[in-house]
Every structure is written in C-alpha cells, then in structure tokens.
Amino acid sequence: MQPIFEVRNLKRAFGGLAVTNDVSLSMAPGDRVALIGPNGAGKTTFVNLVTGNLVPDSGDVRLGGETVTGIDAIGRVRRGLVRSFQVTRLFLDMTPAEHVALAVLQRDGRSGRLFGNFLAMPDVMDEVGQLLGKLGLRDLMHRKVSEIAYGQQRLLEIAVALALKPKVLLLDEPAAGVPQSDTGRIEQALADLPADLAVLMIEHDMDLVFRFAKRVVVLAAGAIIFDGSPSDVTQDPRVREAYLGSYANASHAA
C-alpha cells in the first residue's frame, strides 16, 4: 500500500550531538506503530521534527506523497498530521463541547466566522455529541475542563485530535499520568480509533504498547535500532542492550 506518512534520512544535531541520526520510517493507512526508546533516545526531537516545530538539518518528511519538510506546523496539521500532547494542553476555562466544536470548525475552515454560535449549528453539535459520546464524555460536555478528572481530560485530548479528522495521528504517551482505574477507558478509545487512520504512539508503558501496536520501532541515541513486530522486540539484542545500558548508566549515575 502507498505510504501515507514517510520520514526519509531525517537528521538533526544540537551543537555537534546528533539527536536524530538518519531516521527513516514509513507508515501506511491503518498502521498501529509504537515508538519506544529509553530516556534521551531522541523521541521528543523526532516528534518535533515530524510535526514541524523543529527544522531538520537534512532529510524529508512526506505526508500523503507530498513533501512537507518546508511547511510549518500549522500547514502540516491542515494536511492531516495531528498530534496529542504528553501533558494535557487544554483550555481550562472552556468546555469539552467547545474544544471539539472548535476543532471541527477549524477543520472545516469555519473558525473565523464572526456570527453564529456553534451551539446552534446542528451539524457541528451532531459531531460534537457523537465524538464525546464515543469517548464517554457526553455528560460532561458543558462542564469546564478545569472541573473534570485528569483521565477524562486525556480522553478529551484524543477527541480534539479526532475531530480534526487526521490521516496520521501522533499520540504522545496518551495514558501518561492517568490513574490505573481510568486506563481501561483510554485503551478502549485507542482500540476504537478509525481503522484507516495511521497511528504512531510514543509510549513508555510496555503493556499498553503490546496491546495496541502491530509494529514497534525502537529509537536509541537518535537512531532506529529496531523496526518489527512486538513479539520480536524483547528478544532483539540491540534493544536489550539499549535498555539495559541505560539502566546500567542510570544506576551508575545514582
């Protein structure tokens, strides 16, 4: 299948240190890929390069066959590359309904409209109700985000991302900081993601990785050291070395 998302030979160095070192990755619609790696492996830099928040020294990012390396972060979102944040970034004074409505209106190019309220726009409210309903947030849709639980805020992050109808979704630790009792809901939301959506999840929780991903990519010292099935990842000697190495270093440092 034609890849929807491709990264070719991406490189970025900070002061001589190659934080992203010749990374190539390709994803097709419907892919469920987990990106893992020890601390300092360069995951955040990779995400920033892909989303357009950092400019690579060399290499290309392609989206749906189009090279988007020279396009800024906003342009990439408009072309279907959407991310969620590791620490929730929501508008605390606004309601879940307003969040999703804003995403829907933005996606349709209607967020600049000076008249009319989304509450009186049946098509928008339909989508807002459906999306929030699917994630179990329908009853809270008119509460302020500051008043809802953290786990529900994480779900709202996913709802906002989905409302933008992405082609490629980058999920940055979607279950980070969520109490054990609420992770089930998030896993269900991940399992219910649209089948044709390509999802790249950055995650530390290996249980979640194994349940979600069909393919695992391991990043260490800025380079991809493994790209394969979840069943093989724990057996791979380079992966073991990267993780054990980092633990060994950590224990030395301690």
């Binding site: 979102v77 000076l114 008249f115 509450l119 009186a120 409210m125």
Partner: protein, 334 residues
Amino acid sequence: MSMTTTNDLIAERPAKHRFGGGDLIGLGVILALAVIGYFLFPNNLALLTRIIAIALLVLSLDLVTGYCGVATLGHAALFGAGAYAAGIVSAHYGINDPIAMLAFGIVAGAIAGLICGAVILRAHGLPQLVLSIALIHLFHEFANKASSWTGGSDGLSGIAPSALIGLYEFDLWGRTAYVFGVVLLVLVFFILRLIVRSPFGMLCRAIKEDPIRIRSMGASPKAALMKMYIISGAVAGVGGALNAISTQVVGLDSLSFTMSAESLVMLVLGGTGSLFGALTGTIVFMFFEDVVSAANPFHWLTMVGALLIAVVLFAPKGLFGTAAAFVARRREAK
C-alpha cells in the same frame, strides 16, 4: 437504546449559552441608563456623550486585552486615528455628513488597528507592552508634527457636522450627539456580543489560554489576533469619530499615553473579558472622576488611585466580574 438527536444536545446546552435573555437584559440596562442619564443630567449631556465615546474605546480594548490576552498601553492610537480621520474629512474636505464622518473614523481606526497589531503582535509580555507605549508616542508625535492637517497642539477645529440623516441638527445642548452616541453604543454592543460568542470569539478565547495548542489544531494565532485588532480598531474608531462629531474639536489628548493607560484602568476596574465589565468600568471611573475632581480638585487623583487599589485588592475580577461571580455562586448554591 434511545437515540440522542442534535435537538436534544442543543436543548440541554447551559443557560449561559442561550441567546436572547442576557442580551436583552443588557440592552435594556444600557437603554434604561441612557434615559435616566438624559433626565438626570440634562445640562451635562456632553459628559454623558464623552462617557459613551470612551466606553467604545474601552470595549475595543477589551476585545484585544480581555478576550485575546494582548497587553497594550497604546490603545488610544486607534481611538485618536478615528477621531482625527472624522475631524479631518470635515475640517479639510468638507465632508460633513456625520454618517460619512463616522465611516471614515471606522476605516481609520481599523487601519490603525492593522498597523498597531502588526507591530505589537510581534512580541509577548513586557516587550509587547513596551512596543505599545512606543507606538502611542509615535502616533502622538506624528499628529503633533502634521499640524497643517491636525492643528498640532492647538487641536483640530473647524469640524462642522451637518444634520444627522438630514433631520437632526447637532444642537448646543448636545441632545442629538447624545442620542447618536446611545444608538451607536447599542449597535456596537449588540454586534460585539455576537462576535465574542461566534466561532471566532471562541478561537480568540482559546488563543488567550494557549496559543501553542491552537497551532496544533491548525489555526494561526497571529492571523486571528490581527483580525481582532482590526475589529477592535473599527470599534475604537466609532468612539473617536463620535468624540470628534460631538465636541467638534480633536486634541492631541485623544492620542495620548494617558488616555491609553486610563482606558486600561477602566477595563480592569470593570472586569476584563466581559463587555459588561468594560461598560461598568468606564461609567464608574468617569463619574467618579467627574464627581471627585469637582469636589476636591487638588486630591482627586489620589482618590482615584485609592479606588483602584481597593478594587484590585478586594475585587480582582473587577466590579462587574466580582458581582457576576458572586451571583453565579449564589445560583449554584441554590
């Protein structure tokens, strides 16, 4: 399983989002105050008209500061641009129709908004504040130097608005100007209520909270803020033009740092991020100033300062903001 229809979702929306009720009460209050003012101060309609003009400036400031979080101490530039444009077309070009003068004021205000926005939005926080101060001084100095057009420090005179819609002359008592001002305020207020609740208004509130998040939703915070600056300029332009038409003179004070700072004080006094707050702050400040400066011409500024300190300490959301929060708490308690 029961199906939830869109109508159900719309029906269960919270009271604060319903149309009509709050707006009608707000418009009713404005009109009632206008009528009371007319009968209570028949010899001081010029002050009331001035309050309306300044209220338009404070509403305009609320759009960028209260709703978008832009820090500015140079907002009178937009007001002054509107005032000078309306005055210049009358004094130098013989365009004396008040509606046409108003239109020039609006356009000039919007253009000043575009210029100020283009400069101020390049920075954030303190640098943003400094840029805004630099801008108001530049505008002031430009108006001072271009004295053949603006009258410089003597002020622009020779403004002679003709009868409003050909029927109502601008009389010595300022009745026509006052009614004109009230109509403009009601119209602007109604339009702004629509705008702050529109998708664009929602986008601006979101930008105020987290511009980076908005970028990751594919919207450009800068483009939205520029648009709001232009709208804000148009609103301030209405205020400036009203001031030029009603007083028939435009002075450099309408482009001053003092006026910019005072408008910010009025906004904080009433409560930012609320159109009612902007109106409340203007009315309270200007009445207070008028009454106290008449009662004690030497120490009135001290008293204004004391009032401000009291509000900031005891009602940090501003007079209207604090009252609204109190009412909301009482409602929830019930």
